[in-house]
Subunit: 112 residues, 4 copies
């Protein structure tokens, strides 16, 4: 499945439930933010070592996948409502980042 | 470009700069969260009407695209580091949501 | 109760449970962020009118108070761990904001 | 200065600029969330050791204090608009947490 197909599927999911009226940009930004909060909650008390192995155990992996899914679904829905192509935007941003951060140039912790 | 190709491009971007050491799950969740904060900032004081037209004007659209790009890039990078396929996870989640929220069943504001 | 007394109470709560080892700045910033996500979730689908009346009904008010409490508790705990006086910092910030935003000067939506 | 006095000062700041019309619960939750994002950004790439010393250096301390200030100011403003006493809510929450988490009871990483 492509991201475009996921976007269409999510759009039709909203339409079939008459949820488009709730899917305003502000509401979707808030929903995206709340889902990132749930993803954050999974990792907040883990040591770096535990966090690195967060997907080693099936039940923990399922929780992480579930929250990553929610974040992606609201991000895609927001992009759809705003008429933004998220992959094209991200690819263009990588291009700008390549100019801002040339490889091989050291950075201090503050500039990271 | 597919999301998988974007993920590989972002992975190589990190590798070329020796940034993989910073790209731990906890750090990437925090970076994702900070970028959602920047996206939120663009919309926080807008009226619903203004937010609906947030991409009508080219300079404002560029800002929105830039923040959606950053959110997607960190989400994809996090998924890569954790070994999660974000589209497959999101598609599976839509399937579960179809069971949880059958079309045509009304919902109150609290249950939305 | 003062905010300083709340900070001490929260500090002793952590100490009595041997939770100080988890209360690193990064972990507490993540916990703060996750709690703001829960607060956001309460408001995300509400219309502006519904959100304005979010505390009119006792059960809904209790949820809002519970999340505001969690946000304040983690903010105070983070400030304590970092050795920051949050009220002094906030009062100093209001002073700077008074210089940045003189009363009576109109602002556009973008500058808000 | 007490938190109550800070709340009144922040209320008068908003009133003097005619900003009360923007200070709806949804907008303030978004602003709070965006400020937590800026606080998160300060810590996202730091190692645990660097984060522990985030306030050791004056310029870095000033940035942390500035973001903690912004978070507290929007939290207090939101509580004011909603008619919530944040310290009373937080104190009541500590009381509930004392019942939920008795001292001396071990917790696993997942339950933390």
């Amino acid at each position: 499945m492509t991201l475009e197909e996921l976007m269409v599927k999510q759009r039709e999911f909203a339409r079939a439930r008459d949820w488009e009226r709730w899917h305003t940009p502000k509401n979707l930004v808030m929903a995206l933010s709340a889902e990132v909060g749930e993803l954050t909650e999974l990792f907040q008390w883990l040591t770096p070592q535990e966090a690195g192995a967060a997907c080693a155990e099936p039940a923990a992996r399922a929780k992480v996948e579930d929250e990553i899914a929610d974040v992606l679904l609201y991000l895609v829905r927001l992009a759809d409502v705003l008429g933004v192509d998220p992959i094209a935007a991200a690819d263009a941003k990588i291009g700008r980042n390549e100019g801002r951060f040339p490889p091989g140039v050291g950075r201090t912790a503050l500039e990271r």
